[in-house]
Amino acid sequence: MTAVLEQTAGVAASSRRGAILSVRDLKTYFATPAGEVKAVDGLSFDLRAGQVLGLVGESGSGKSVTGFSIVRLIEPPGRIVGGEISFKGQELTGASLEEMRRLRGRHIAMIFQDPMMTLNPVLRIDTQMIEAIQAHERVPIAEARARARDALGKVGIPSPEERLKAYPHQFSGGMRQRVAIATALLNQPDLIIADEPTTALDVTIQAQILAEVQKLTRDTNTAVIWISHDLSVVSGMADEVAVMYAGRIVEAGPVAEVINAPRHPYTAGLIGSLPSRNRRGERLRQIHGMTPNLLDLPEGCAFRTRCDHADEACRREPGLFARHGHVHRCFHPCREDA
């Protein structure tokens, strides 16, 4: 039932049943002149069909690198140095490029913050969408075109038949993101990885996109990894949430539990600093210090230099503490009733 799990073998084995994606101890490092950056450092989680996992973190927490690692789009100097990614029983970390090419776009689709990373600016929308279908299936053009039109209609683009003939620059930002989402849906993937897909959009447009994605996961049973820095959006979208800090998941569990009763001081700090959690006009509760430099992390718990709960014990690496599918990495967690 839970996305993130203890690494004990027994629990892991039982939870893997029914999971379409299972990530174990994933490590993605970047070799830089200044040293080795451990962008993702020992990440584990599971995802079932139809489930929405919110992956939350600040810049540099490794949330995007996690998404890119799953589809193996990490480029040098980055490298997956350890761990397993099992997608529908297939091991991805060792898969050949040809195998990955067959999976990407067909079974695993990705939506980026900037839709122009998906769309080719010099090709018409229909050309691009038909190509995305024919890359994986032998389908007559007319049929592929009809599928593309239906996909555009599904994400709420008015008069899709005419819009198929348009170029990306003829769409607004919100409409482009819809086209990118429609393209991701073309082959009815089992998993969509959405990396900050609504961050660049206005509030009213964001709400439209969120409504579409919600409807789609309901109708097609697609699993979604929703990567975002925005706890409020994740809270409204996800079934499970995993909070990342300095390359690790520091807390994870069902969204209501994590948001309403956070255990890790970092999660609690993030939630507590939101203006809506503070009395109007008063100072906001704040996490002091800066987002960490991955080359210069404190020993033990990476959050300890910014944490009010920290003491000598935190110089050691905290393991995963779990209760009823709500896990955290902290020696001095916030009280559950707090």
């Binding site: 607004s172 964001q206 706890l231 969204v255 993030l270 203006p275 959690r277 109007r280």
Partner: protein, 347 residues
């Protein structure tokens, strides 16, 4: 939250009676190119009339910012909120209309007074990476303007240190360059630079939008502390309603170059009048609502190049009727210190 009936007499002494710092009267700003000389020449000799491409970024706005208040300015991208902020900050002249500084027209002021007035309003920008000169040290960035304007009495080094400390930066970093700082620290440098010329009014244009969540709270706290210490007035421009609700005394909502609603923060959030404000409040994601169903407002922000006739919001408005398609609604009082531009109020 206890809902209070805000009787006018209760409000008067706190908000309405304060000295206006900036008053805008019918301020508009257009961008675009008038027809070229060649096109005008052709037109004169019977050629086709060329259509100028003109955007009304700000369209006849009346607005007052009073001493000591925080006015939140909210709107979606392209609504003209940044342009309005720049006009108020004095770094962009309006195409038409008047800007009054403490009740006096800018055009009436002597050049010397006008310069002094401009210095009293400073701006904090959204992007702390683009708004700092990458080749100047922090000491130069913060010290340059007060030196030129002869605001420093005594040692410049000590003066710069004081500004940095006030913005929450360690003065020992002052010989460093912007690229050596994180986003949050750079925003503090921008704040120190603005404070160095001793302003009374800060225009913050999406000043925390580019920052990480944990850093955002620190900068917002800094703004609130400075307000108390220095008795500052703010125009706080943001698309983030949560931030605006927290910080502001009054809120103005913009749509397609026009202010569609303006009221105290309590009024806006408890009794929004304009359908656009209502939709914004409805759709803002809130952490309190888990696994909610989003119901989206139809349509998109129309292009400001071709704004719809009548009320600019009518194509998306769930309650629009015939009059909305023809007649632009004026901003009018709907309650004490609460103005809204909607024909529904006449029904």
């Amino acid at each position: 939250m206890v809902e209070q009936a805000l009787a006018p007499e209760v409000l008067e002494p706190t908000v309405a009676n304060r000295q206006p710092v900036i008053t805008l009267r019918g301020v508009s700003r257009t961008f675009g190119t008038p027809p070229s000389a060649l096109a005008r020449f052709a037109e004169r000799f019977g050629g086709a009339k060329s259509k100028p491409t003109i955007v009304h970024a700000v369209d006849s706005v009346d607005l007052t910012v009073r001493k000591g208040e925080v006015l939140g300015l909210v709107g979606e991208s392209g609504c003209g909120k940044s342009t309005l902020g720049r006009i108020i900050a004095g770094i962009m002249p309006p195409s038409s209309g008047e800007v009054l500084w403490r009740g006096r027209r800018l055009s009436e002021l002597s050049p010397r007074e006008r310069r002094a007035a401009k210095l009293r309003i400073q701006m904090i920008f959204q992007n702390p990476f683009a708004s700092l000169n990458p080749r100047a040290s922090v000491a130069e960035i913060v010290g340059e303007a007060p030196r030129i304007h002869h605001l420093i009495e005594g040692d410049e080094g000590a003066y710069v240190d004081e500004q940095l400390r006030r913005a929450g930066l360690d003065p020992s970093f002052k010989s460093r360059f912007p690229h050596q700082f994180s986003g949050g620290q750079r925003q503090r440098i921008g704040i120190a630079r603005a404070l160095a010329v001793q302003p009374e009014f800060l225009v913050c244009d999406e000043a925390v939008a580019a920052l990480d969540v944990s850093i955002q709270a620190q900068i917002l706290n800094l703004f609130m502390d400075l307000r108390e210490q220095l008795d500052l007035t703010y125009l706080f421009i943001s698309h983030d309603l949560g931030v605006v609700e927290h910080l502001s005394d009054r809120v103005a909502i913009m749509y397609l170059g026009r202010i569609v609603e303006e009221a105290t923060v309590e009024e806006i959030f408890s009794r929004p009048n304009h359908p656009y404000t209502q939709a914004l409040l409805e759709e803002i994601p809130r952490i309190e609502t888990q696994k909610r169903a989003y119901t989206a407002l139809k349509g998109e922000l129309p292009s400001p190049l071709a704004p719809p006739p009548g009320c600019p919001f009518h194509p998306r408005c769930p309650n629009a009727f015939d009059r909305c398609k023809m007649e632009k609604p004026a901003l009018r009082d709907v309650a004490a210190d609460h103005r809204s531009a909607c024909h529904l109020n006449d029904r």
